[in-house]
Amino acid sequence: MKLSREEVVHIAALARMSMSEAEIEKAREQLANILENFAVLKEVDTTNVSPTTQSIKLQSVMRNDIPGESLPAEKILANAPDREGDLFKLRPVLE
């Protein structure tokens, strides 16, 4: 079994990730092989079973909003691929 080319391209677009032709071809087969192995879950009866999102019994943890020291802007901007003064510089979002 193989995924269609369109399916792989659609998923890559959702992930906002480019893929070369060779990557697309490889993904068609590899993803299909892995997905085939997930079919085993169909045999499990999960009627009236609620999903587990995480394993610890905590919900909506709140804490007091206490002001503290912020990280230094210069150290954060030092990692920026591009900057202008104290701002991150990005390409135009609206074209």
Binding site: L35, L41, P51, T52, I56, K75, A78
Partner: protein, 487 residues
Amino acid sequence: MTDKYTDLTIHSAHELLKAKKISSVELTKHYLDRIKKVEPQVRAIVTVTEDSALQQAKQADEAIANGKATPLTGIPVLIKDVMCTKDIKTTCSSKMLENFVPPYNATAVEKLNNAGAVMVGKANMDEFAMGSSTENSAFFTTHNPWDLSRVPGGSSGGSAAGVAASEAIYALGSDTGGSIRQPAGFCNVTGLKPTYGRVSRYGLVAFASSLDQIGPLTKDALDSALVMNVISGYDSRDSTSAPEAVPDYTKGLTKNLKGMKIGIPKEYFVEGMQAEVETAIKDAIRKLEELGAKVEWGVSLPHTRHALAVYYIIAPSEASANLARYDGSKYGFSYKDTDSMWEGMEKTKQLGFGPEVKRRIMLGTYALSSGYYDAYYLKAQKVRTLIRREFDQAFEKYDALVTPTSPTVPFKIGEKADNPLQMYLSDICTLPINIAGIPAISIPAGFAKDLPIGMQIIGKPFAEKTIFKISYAYQQVTDWHKKTAKL
């Protein structure tokens, strides 16, 4: 090649430091020399932090002189390169973060620093902790000190190999589906994955947030307990951090397992399991019986066979969401050769991530996409409930469960590199534990022709103490954990 320091544990080094038989600076210099000697063969470390290590060692010596030494003070440690270290590169063994310098420390690192630890380097790993061999590192593959042609396991392969090669006395790793325990088993060290929420994930680069957990890789169980005493506990900066009080994990360790009930789940002795592994684990279990434990064979956890599918739906789904942040705008690799914002983002991911990371982003995106969400992601989360329930039921009868850590001994470098499914199967015994969020350790339990075999001990939520108790007792009457690789 061994020397008088190769066999040091945290507790034995602490005695030497306290008795002023050696200084932390001397100890640290020894380990930095050792790194220089063995690193060309083992390749466990991405960044050696010589200058800051010597500075930390000097501070540790002052603390020791002032009588303020705690068990970890002045002891050299390796940190997996997935934990943020202030002003020190944190790469996740990815081109994406090759030059990323965090402005803050992960909580676990901060806690070690406060305890006077000396970090000698950042350990190699599979890119973004995705893999079982370190072959997915964008920089280089780590070699198993027991056989350099074999993998050290992964994803915390650098941490495990580094401890096995005595490049540090212990290490921190992270475990999402076996990433501490499987390499610990492959390299003959003791590796604990604590209960989900026990150790803060603040500053741990996220892979699968509902499964990730930080833990120690050490020379023995007592060392593991000593590290857990320091890194465990509530952290307001991690909303999944557990409020449970932290006990002294070193208390109550004895040679006696009387009254302990241990179950052996039959599903973990899987088809395709290496005969030597099965023999070694069964021998080790009989040893636990000799120590006084009541062992019951043939316990059944039927949903074990669904764990692989559940894991490879949930982990990539969470990863695809977590890794969406690497868009080349605020930090990390950024594709520059375009005027289009979308193209820049799409190329940044294509060129910044390696094949396994991209495969998991695709898998996760698929499982979460419209039309497939119910069949894959929601279904997996429901089966996750059943897996956890099965463990809860078993723990009504048993204090702990014992299994092999991995069905095989370390495999050859390159052997599984082109077959993702085969690679996924090497974590078959460790994945269910992360799905359930419970704690488990891997401890050395024998060899198959000089290749290490690990035994996994699984405990109830927050019952790390029970796990340490069994491990410690076993290590009092065996010496597998004392065997060191010849380099």
